[in-house]
């Protein structure tokens, strides 16, 4: 009986098409990008000469920078597919389904969507192989053999994506399972402790320490591991501190808001600082990238004209690598903003429609929505850039980071990241227009 009711409730409803397509598309993009990144990087490991280690070091940094936003995009997609069912699942609980049955249903559904998306992503990756093979490193194109992944990776990545979806679904559904009314009434008040800040500072100091002792590391492998650890830790810590700072600022904004849009935006952020953070967390990545690219370019510039062919090629390749990493991170940020915004609008369709009936102009709703993203975005973009600069400091010194060329690159990449989010917002505006349209 429960199974029958379960199917009825789990079946896509009127919003089904969009709600189902979105996570599938997001999972597809995520899988394709992940395969592309791994494919590009693997060719570096086919080299065995002295300079190969330098390439591999740079590739590790690029991978760390790219894998984190990939995971966050994957998380967004998984949460979206799980959240689409929140209401129906809570209803199921109210009807008396066991927590196990509810969890199983939700997890299965998320995994099915993720697997579907991952398969589409594999196909998309194959389509990307030819252009990827044309990218030149060390004076020649990578070539199809260089970037084409073997079966192990082609199987492991989609399986990993599906697993990620399952884990996200389980975590996201804990609330429904604990309390059938929890999700329906959305009552949990968010609590964030200041200890987050303390932990954050400690981790950043440790990361700076690691980077500072990099030179004395015994082996190349150790250097790679330490670099990855320092950057990964500094990035991870953003997840801890970001929501806390965003909440602090939103609380002040609620008090001082003068217009409906400002009040709505600040309250939306305060409702769930973590959700606000997740929408823009990808930008923390582009900010890291900005500082990295900025000092990288400044280093290249300091070298001036390279004396020999090998170093000239290396400098060219670093430029290529920076460009690819920046573009890749922009792509992922744009995707996760799009996915999150579409989900947010779909979730609140009834409310938007009723506000339109009351006579609230769509422009006010849109302004509130834009603010609720752009304000946390500013905090995130600059906060992350600052953290990245601090972690880079032992490596580059102050002069390189504040060199005019470096600052120009940092500003350009930051502007690019913010612009991409803005585009994601603009792209989902028609969805809001449709949700808020009352004329049948």
């Amino acid at each position: 009986m429960i199974a029958g009711v379960g199917w009825l409730l789990a079946r896509p409803g009127t919003t089904g098409a969009t709600a189902t397509a979105l996570p599938v598309v997001a999972f597809a993009i995520m899988t394709a990008l992940l395969l592309t990144v791994i494919g590009g990087a693997q060719s570096f490991w086919t080299w065995t000469d002295d300079i190969a280690v330098t390439y591999q070091a740079l590739a590790v940094i690029a991978l760390v920078l790219l894998v984190a936003p990939l995971a966050s995009l994957g998380g967004a997609a998984a949460r979206l597919s799980a959240r689409r069912r929140d209401d129906r699942l809570a209803t199921l609980r109210l009807l008396g389904a066991t927590p196990e049955a509810v969890s199983a249903l939700a997890v299965i559904e998320s995994v099915v969507l993720a697997t579907l998306g991952a398969l589409v992503g594999v196909v998309a990756y194959f389509a990307l192989v030819p252009p990827l093979a044309l990218i030149p490193f060390r004076g020649e194109a990578l070539g199809v053999e260089g970037v084409l992944l073997g079966w192990p990776a082609l199987i492991a990545v989609p399986v990993g994506v599906s697993l990620l979806a399952a884990v996200s679904a389980v975590v996201g559904l804990r609330l429904v399972v604990i309390s059938p009314l929890g999700v329906r009434t959305r009552q949990d008040a968010p609590k964030l402790h200041w200890l987050r800040l303390l932990v954050g500072v400690v981790v950043v100091v440790l990361a700076v320490g690691i980077v500072a002792v990099l030179r004395v590391a015994a082996s190349a492998v150790l250097i790679l591991a330490m670099l990855g650890l320092a950057f990964g830790a500094a990035l991870a810590v953003q997840n801890l501190v970001g929501p806390w700072v965003i909440r602090l600022v939103a609380r002040a904004q609620v008090r001082t808001a003068r217009t409906p849009a400002k009040l709505l935006a600040a309250r939306t952020v305060l409702e769930s600082p973590k959700a606000a953070w997740r929408q823009v967390s990808g930008v923390a990545m582009t900010s890291f990238m900005a500082v990295f690219a900025g000092s990288g370019v400044a280093v290249l510039n300091a070298f001036g004209e390279a004396p020999d062919l090998e170093s000239r090629l290396l400098l060219d390749d670093i430029r290529t690598g920076i460009l690819i990493t920046v573009i890749g991170s922009f792509l992922m940020v744009a995707c996760s903003v799009g996915v999150n915004q579409a989900a947010a609008i779909l979730d609140r369709r009834d409310l938007y429609e009723s506000l339109a009936k009351l006579g609230m102009p769509t422009s006010t709703m849109d302004a509130a929505r834009r603010r609720s993203v752009m304000s946390p975005l500013r905090i995130t973009a600059f906060g992350a850039a600052l953290t990245a600069a601090v972690v880079m400091l032992p490596l580059t010194g102050v002069t390189l980071i504040v060199a005019p060329l470096s600052l120009a690159v940092i500003a350009a990449v930051l502007a690019g990241g913010i612009g991409v989010v803005w585009l994601g917002l603009a792209a989902t505006r028609p969805l809001l227009g449709r949700a808020g349209r009352v004329e049948a």
Binding site: R258, P260, L264, M360
Partner: protein, 235 residues
């Protein structure tokens, strides 16, 4: 009692093959409480939406008379309709549809802020209305922390606070038990007709409808009957 605030004539509206309204003439008198009753799917909500300038009818006209003159709602642009709804009308829906992130008083104040009133003054007015509706002390609660009946009173305060001359309510008591329903209905009447405003209400509940001054019955997109309610007899 004889002047009309809303006059609709020859309203019809179809959704694809479904004829939701099939020629409705209806005049709403200033200061009356009008209940629209009828079976599910008979076109009540569609009629309410046409009267309020939310839905544009395929044929027919809706006129609105206010202190400043007469406008034909059916001739207004989308923007002008939106502004009219914001400034002259108030709405109460079945589920309240309040903004969950905002506090009770912010939900009410928002309606005034949309019309350009500064926040401080808007919240002051909002508190006044909430207190009048028996919600003193709950102003700073979020909507999730209110009961269904309390949330509905917040929605009523939101519909009233702008000084709307007509309040439209679509099954405002539909989700409430009979005691709470009766209290909410009283609050709604007190704050509308009790203040010389007009109330147009859609309901399934005969005990709610009889408390209005006039009841019209709908069937298959037409008005098929009209009765006098308790409020009229008492008056």
């Amino acid at each position: 009692m004889s002047s009309f605030v809303i006059e609709a004539s020859g309203l019809s509206k179809s959704f694809g093959p479904t004829r939701a309204l099939a020629g409705v003439d209806l005049s709403v008198r200033t200061g009356e409480s009008l209940a629209i009753m009828g079976a599910s799917g008979s076109g009540k909500t569609t009629l309410l939406h046409c009267l309020a300038g939310i839905t544009r009818p395929d044929a027919g006209t809706v006129g609105f008379r206010s202190g400043t003159g007469q406008v034909e709602i059916t001739g207004l642009s989308e923007r002008e309709c939106s502004r009219l709804r914001r400034e002259a009308f108030g709405f109460v829906f079945q589920q309240g549809l309040l903004i969950p992130e905002l506090t009770a008083v912010e939900n009410v104040a928002l309606a005034l802020m949309l019309n350009g009133m500064p926040r401080g003054r808007a919240e002051q007015h909002g508190r006044g209305w909430l207190a009048a509706l028996g919600l003193a002390g709950m102003e700073d609660r979020r909507i999730g922390q209110l009961s269904g009946g309390q949330a509905q009173r917040v929605a009523i305060a939101r519909a009233q606070v702008t000084g709307a001359s007509v309040v439209f309510a679509d099954e405002p008591t539909g989700a409430l038990d009979s005691t709470t329903s009766s209290e909410v209905m009283q609050a709604l009447l007190d704050s509308t007709t009790g203040q010389g405003r007009t109330l147009v209400l859609v309901t399934h509940d005969a005990s709610v409808a009889t408390r209005c001054s006039r009841i019209v019955d709908m069937r298959d997109g037409r008005i098929v009957g009209e009765r006098v309610g308790a409020a009229e007899v008492a008056a």
